[in-house]
Structures are given as C-alpha cells and as structure tokens.
Symmetry: C2
Subunit: 210 residues, 2 copies
DNA sequence: GTCTATATAGGGATAGAC
DNA sequence: GTCTATCCCTATATAGAC
C-alpha cells in the first residue's frame, strides 16, 4: 500500500478516535513510523489531508443522497436512505465531532457541507412526498417541510448526541448507535403514517431494537 | 465593575462570537486593555474561566428545566420550557459550538453536561405525559420516549444546524433563529396532538413565523 | 491589582542529505 | 521517497517590579 494512502487511512482513524484538533501531523507520522518530513512530502499541510478525506466523504454522501429516479419513492427508499446516511456519517464522524471548528477554517469545505445539508433536506422531502403520493402517509406541505428539516437535524447530530450521553468507556457496539439513530428518525415519520403502515413500522421497530 | 467579572463577561462574548478554541487568553486581555499577567492574577488558567462560565450556564439551564410542580403540565409549560431552553443555549452557545472538544478536556464538565441532557429528556417526558393526561394529545409510552429524545436532539443542536445553513454574513436576527427552533420542536409534537389542539397550534405557528 | 518581560512547550512546516 | 535536523510561530503560564 502506498504511503500516501496509508497516511490518509491512518489520519481518518486517529481523527475519528481522538478528534481532529487533538491529532497533530507528528502524531500521524509517529503512528505510521515515518518521519514528519516524509508526511510533508506527500501532503502540503494538515488541511490538505483533511480536504482529501472530505472529498472521499462527499462522494460517498452524494451517492447516499441520490433521489430515487423514474418511480415514486416508497418506505424502502426511506430505510435505505437513512442507513446509507448514517453509515457515511459514522465513517467520517470526525467531521461531525468538530464541525463548526473544521468548517470555519475552510470556506470551500463550508460551502460543500452546506450543499450536502440542503441536499439531505431535499432528498427527505422527495421521499416524504412520494410516501404521501402512494397513500402511505398524510401530511401537508408545511408538515413535510418541517419534518424534512427535523430529519436532517436528527440524522446529522444523533451520533454526537449519543457520544455525550454514553460514557466513553462503556459505550455499546458501534452498530447499536446507528440502529438507534435510524429508529429515532423513523419515529419522526411514524405519526404521519396511515394505520397499516404505522402498525407495520411499530412491528419492525420492535424487532429492530431487540 | 470588578476586573474579574469583566473578564468573564468579555470571555463569554468573544467565545460566542469566534468559538472558544480560537480565542486565547491574550485575545481576552487585549480586548479588555489589560495585561495577560493581570488576567492570570484573577484566573489560574483558561479552563478556570470556562469552568466559571459553565457554572453560570448550568444554574440557568437547571432553572429552565424545572418540572412544573403540584399540577399537570400543559401546552403552556411546553412553550415556556422551550423558550427558556433555547435562550439559555443562545446565551452560552460557545459551549454548543465546540461541545465535543470542550467536554473532552474536562471530565467534570462532561458529567454535568450529561446530567443536563438527561434532564432535558426527562422534563420533556414529564410534560408530554401531562399533555396526554389532560387529553390534549395521544401517544404510547414508546412514542413519548422516542419523542422526548428527539426533542432534546433538536433543541440541543438546532442553532448549530442553522449556523451552518445560513451564510455567516447574511444571517437574520438572533431572535429569528430561536423562534424557528421553537417552531421546529413544536412540529415534532404537533402530529400527536388531538384535533382542536393541533388546529390551534397550526394557527399559532403561522402567526409566530410571520 | 496591574504591569513588563520572559520562560516553556508544542505544533506546523522546510532544508538538505541520503 | 525517506530521513534528520531545525526554524518559526503562537499559546499558556510565571516572575518580579511597581
């Protein structure tokens, strides 16, 4: 494996585990058993590393936020959408841990992240309108707008919320956090679902959380 | 006004405006036209300042999260609860901007903040159960648990969410952000409200956001 | 209480040899 | 591509005079 890729991989792991502000270029070099000079041969500076990682993140998130085409979105689209979003956030959680800090240092990152956020809201709206269209749920336009914003907020910050609530030592498996997050978002949609769909969701949720 | 208090006041303002990690003790001293040495006469270190500000924050938030006693909570309690919470967060928003960063540097702060979060959820639950009891809304125990968590997430992170969405330059007045936040949280509760209460809330929301 | 001057430490980044 | 050595800068914090 090329040194450049090893640096990216290790940086991502250290950032995710310890928070980007606490990881210096020396830490990264140490962890890889290479010299700081070598690291700076491959990357201009620390921001350069972060930018590369952000590009990877952005590609993956864009893929997750693809609006289903050529057909009316349904409940399965919602499930898939949420899982892909949560997994991408988990993989690049260092961005979310110090979001304000990181975005304020780099205007381009800020612009791109904002676009992702708007897209998150937009995709949620498309899917919700699809659910209304096929008769699975009932909601006004204003309901959908507010609901889509709330879905975006919970999806974006759920992992941060959980990291504070659980003690650093005794936190459960990673997958639990994601599953609970998906459940929380579905709980936002549930009250708008019509009788049958709502019962189905309740049933699914019970199994899902066991 | 005593120098000590001026330091606290100015620190809070600078932290809120620029983010705590970017404000050094020298910045604070500069802004006050005092020497760094003078600042360190009044406070052992930067963390000492943050701890004091956190204590102020905690007292104010604890007050906001008082469960209404001796009577069944109603819709007005929910409004009051949300307004007080949002205003407290706004006043000490520097804590929320770099929450992970700040809490990870100080175990005591982390423990106390976690308690506040649990209390946020708990108070929301108490109020929601009150609403069910007086017949204003219908929800199962599981509905209420999930809803209370979501209320806490949105209330905690709404301002962060909005700061990213709005451009740093052209953001609206401060009060707008708070009002929108309260609206978003009420939108979480709305679908559980019974006919009359729901219509009333819709009416109120329209006026509220105009 | 307040100042000036300074010690200390650490992170980001580069030069030049190999 | 990789290393060693080093420089610069900034932030925290202290010492000692006034």
């Amino acid at each position: 494996m090329k040194t450049r890729d090893r640096i990216l991989q290790t940086s991502l792991r250290l950032f995710n585990d310890n928070g980007e502000p606490r990881i210096t270029t020396n830490h990264i070099a140490d962890e890889l058993d290479i010299s700081p000079g070598n690291l700076y041969y491959h990357f201009r500076n620390k921001d350069d590393i972060i930018n590369l990682l952000f590009q990877q993140f952005e590609r993956q998130m864009e893929a997750a936020l693809q609006v289903p085409e050529r057909r009316v979105p349904n409940m399965e689209d919602m499930w898939l959408y949420l899982h892909l979003v949560f997994e991408t956030i988990w993989e690049y959680r260092f961005l979310y841990r110090d979001l304000d800090n990181i975005l304020s240092r780099n205007k381009k990152l800020r612009t791109h992240f904002r676009r992702i956020l708007e897209r998150k809201i937009h995709t949620a709206e498309i899917i919700l309108r699809g659910l209304v269209e096929v008769g699975v749920m009932s909601a006004t336009a204003a309901d959908i707008a507010a609901l889509a914003r709330n879905i975006a907020v919970v999806a974006t910050y759920w992992l941060n919320f959980q990291r504070i609530r659980t003690t650093p030592a005794a936190d459960g498996a990673d997958s639990d956090h994601l599953a609970l997050g998906v459940y929380q978002v579905l709980a936002l949609v549930a009250p708008f679902l019509n009788g049958d769909a709502q019962r189905l969701l309740r049933q699914l949720s019970l199994e899902y959380l066991s």
